[in-house]
Assembly symmetry: C2
Homo-oligomer: 499 residues x 2
């Protein structure tokens, strides 16, 4: 085990070498943490990226574009909420691999699961799950996935990543739409033949309605419903599917209730208009896809009113409402699924997941279940080795009441962000969040990027989204003490900007 | 370790209980095998699927469509070339999870890699590889991937699965095509804006040329170039891209040289015609995608002449030739990459991989490298934990000379198939193959399916493809003794059909 553990002793020894540390809690107070071997505080002693990261970047740059690489990580020495880089810096990680680390680095429960003899065959032999599933597959699906299924959804399909989950969810909607069109009749010989060639009627002109600033992935079907930055879409031939405005709410919400209601009504009207327009274009909409909180697009929230209205429209048109919870799922908002905040009349028809769930996939209602074999399928359709770890994550969330922890830490973080925007009104605005799924806007992108960079130099690692937003995507095991470390660094950086 | 190992002792004990065994080598001869703990012979003592598989099927059927499930597997008791099911049957596996097991089940080298302390952090902490790669990422890419890169390709991008590899390869081609169209100028503001909305000019009308009976995956971009069975494509709105005929060769090849040359010329002419037609339709072709051997489509081969001609056409049109080696790669044809059999003038521009490579991804030439960050990207872009195992696979292929083994076993298998089609000319035809990547056709699909089923009952597990073909997709560690077991069972089953 030794090599894995970032021991408290080694952390202290670095601190005692006189390196800079930030936000260290007072000596009289024990630091709250879920993993006893997590460091107490960040330690930064080089620029980030440091010299070793720079070397590795040059090396990697000879075999691929490395423009997106921020720094190289020492995963062995990362622990809990702390990410260690290859230059010996240790950062409080509030971005967690683009929101995909549920419990923290090298969590002891995951190490234990890795070392269990009965898990070995699953870790080594990746099956073609759709054809030759392991004997324990059904029970793994029940324990790891169905035990946290969104209320009302009883079917589940695993996939290897988020984009594939969205792609195959869309396919489930297209299949269901065409089945209804056929009124119970089997497909015609003409349909069966023409689809192989990629023509109508077998390949019909159908679409999925999405929203401005929505992000759903980078394969062609997922890109068709993605509307974020040019870098995601330039040069790619994607179908022209309907896109309606996502609400652009004004903050603080309690001061703009009337305006925001009008904005959401405008967007809902646009949805109805687009459904009608694409029907008239002979490219009917087979389903609606939306994120509960638009993440890549800028942490854009809408109210329960909007989502309830959207579900009403979907029901009126007898098309499914598909929620992309790839980033919002798995507890980060204080409920296991973000849409549980909305008091929907019915369950959504499809809920996609990935990232912190460790496996991709989607839950869906019975009416979206394909009737034929091999319709929603590929060689691997997921990876049982990821289910081993997900089962631990889910058990830990339940046993340690992590959703409650997220709520508590999240409300503490959000009130800290409110204080900061009150203190720096010309720089910060629109503090918002559910659970620890928080964000705050900057006056412009340059300031945001400068602050992110300086925060990193103070040992706090965060991510950006939208035009001028920072997003908080910590593990589910974040405590108030971690928030204090962030707030101290944030205050210091923003204060430095002003002077 | 004990639970993992399918011990010779337990195998013998089942045999000694008087169950049926097939193809057992004579007692005087030691069975050749790469893994000493691999069973000596199949053991079948229930119908397949057996009663336990049936129970599990019913259970799994309550939460998803299970139409494609053949039986449930006991991966702990599977070993080497032998797959154990949950009913205690042990089959010689010549299909290997749809061609995705390189060395065999529970290979000791993979177990060892799993248990190495220095691999733990990689197995537990899945990174956002494109942004926060581990310190050893560059060296893992070099050891596991670049050391087996197709000659002439020096860039590599990992991905999580085959479909994503195809999708992102296509994107690399679209980016390169449009860059050339711009003649070195940056994209216009109109392009940057319109692409986000999904319109021209930022989302241009471009296509990829593919072939009849080609299979490349099940996400929308990959489906657009897939033309196999209706079950893969019905109801899905895919773009109408050009599709040319793949050669339909007559066998035996040496008796139909003139006819096959004419057929390949016809197909090459069609490619030229389609390129021209789509150019005129204002949907120019940005690249050509083809499998070295069409696998899902029926193990359709073409000659070097065809592929050399195809490369000439691609070069004439200044578009890339992209080879989908998801199934053909990683040694199964006796060379690491199937296209190495063709003596191409230049390296192909892109080579996609997945399946036996354990990770998805693609090799590509410099000119296809995106110039901006985040263009070929997603959260995970692969999984370093798979690279641990791939590195072992690649080392084993080199150290144990597995490509030579594949050639030797493959020629023995193919000559056995020739014998069988000579013996049963009304039933079998078109025995063909490279290495152990072999296939044979049946007079019709019903006969093929009946034979597959009866073979399974004799403990030999194979897969189908195309309309009436069985395909051989064994591990790289198959010996002549394994082939004997198959041939005995095959002869017995086909002989039974005749009577």
């Amino acid at each position: 085990m030794a090599a894995l553990l970032w021991s408290t002793k080694s952390c202290v020894s670095i601190i005692s070498r006189g390196l800079r540390t930030y936000g260290t809690p007072s000596a009289s107070k024990a630091v709250m943490k879920s993993d006893p071997l997590e460091p107490d505080a960040p330690v930064v002693h080089t620029a980030i990226p440091g010299p070793r990261s720079q070397e590795l970047l040059t090396e990697l740059g000879t075999i691929q574009n490395t423009g997106a690489v921020q720094f190289f990580v020492d995963y062995e020495r990362s622990r809990g909420n702390y990410l260690a880089d290859v230059d010996g810096n240790v950062m409080l990680d509030l971005f967690t691999q683009i929101s995909s680390v549920p419990l923290g680095y090298n969590h002891p429960r995951l190490v234990k699961a890795l070392l269990k003899e009965e898990n070995r065959a699953t870790l080594i032999n990746r099956p073609a799950l759709g054809v030759f599933p392991p004997g324990d597959w059904s029970s793994r699906l029940r324990n790891a996935l169905l035990s946290v299924a969104p209320p009302g959804l009883n079917q589940v399909q695993t996939m290897a990543c988020g984009a594939c989950s969205v792609e195959h969810s869309q396919k489930a909607m297209f299949i269901a739409y065409q089945r209804r069109q056929r009124g119970g009749q089997p497909p015609s010989p003409e349909e069966l033949q023409s689809c192989v060639e990629g023509h109508a009627p077998g390949s019909p002109n159908l679409s999925v309605l999405s929203f401005t600033n929505g992000f759903h992935g980078r394969t062609m079907g997922a890109l068709a419903v993605t509307h974020t930055k040019w870098v995601h879409k330039l040069d790619f031939p994607v179908p022209d599917w309907p896109c309606a405005s996502f609400p652009n709410l004004q903050y603080p919400l309690d001061q703009f209730h009337r305006e925001n209601r009008a904005e959401e009504d405008r967007c809902l009207d646009e949805v109805k208009e687009r459904l009608h327009a694409w029907e008239k274009k002979n490219c009917p909409v087979a389903g609606i896809i939306v994120e509960p909180i638009q993440s890549e697009g800028g942490d854009n929230h809408a109210t329960s009113y909007f989502f309830q209205g959207l579900q009403d429209i979907a029901n009126d048109h007898e098309i499914p409402l598909m929620l992309d919870e790839v980033q919002t799922g798995c507890g980060a908002t204080g409920k296991f699924w973000a849409h549980e905040h909305w008091d929907l009349k019915d369950a959504p028809d499809i809920v996609c997941f990935s990232k912190k769930m460790l496996t991709g996939g989607f839950f869906y209602k019975d009416h979206l279940r394909p009737q034929e074999a091999h319709r929603i399928f590929n060689t691997w359709v997921g990876d049982p080795s990821k289910m081993i770890f997900l089962e631990e994550v889910v058990n830990m969330i339940k046993e340690e009441g992590l959703l409650q922890r997220v709520k508590d830490t999240g409300s503490y973080l959000l009130s800290g962000l409110y204080d900061m925007q009150t203190k720096y009104p010309g720089i910060l605005s629109k503090a918002r969040g559910l659970g620890t799924y928080c964000a705050i806007d900057f006056k412009d992108a340059d300031t945001r990027d400068k602050v992110l960079n300086e925060l990193r130099q103070k040992g706090v690692h965060l991510g950006s989204c939208g035009n001028c937003t920072i997003r908080f995507r910590p593990t589910l095991a974040l405590f108030r003490d971690h928030v204090d470390i962030f707030l101290d660094a944030f205050n210091s950086v923003i204060g430095g900007l002003k002077s």
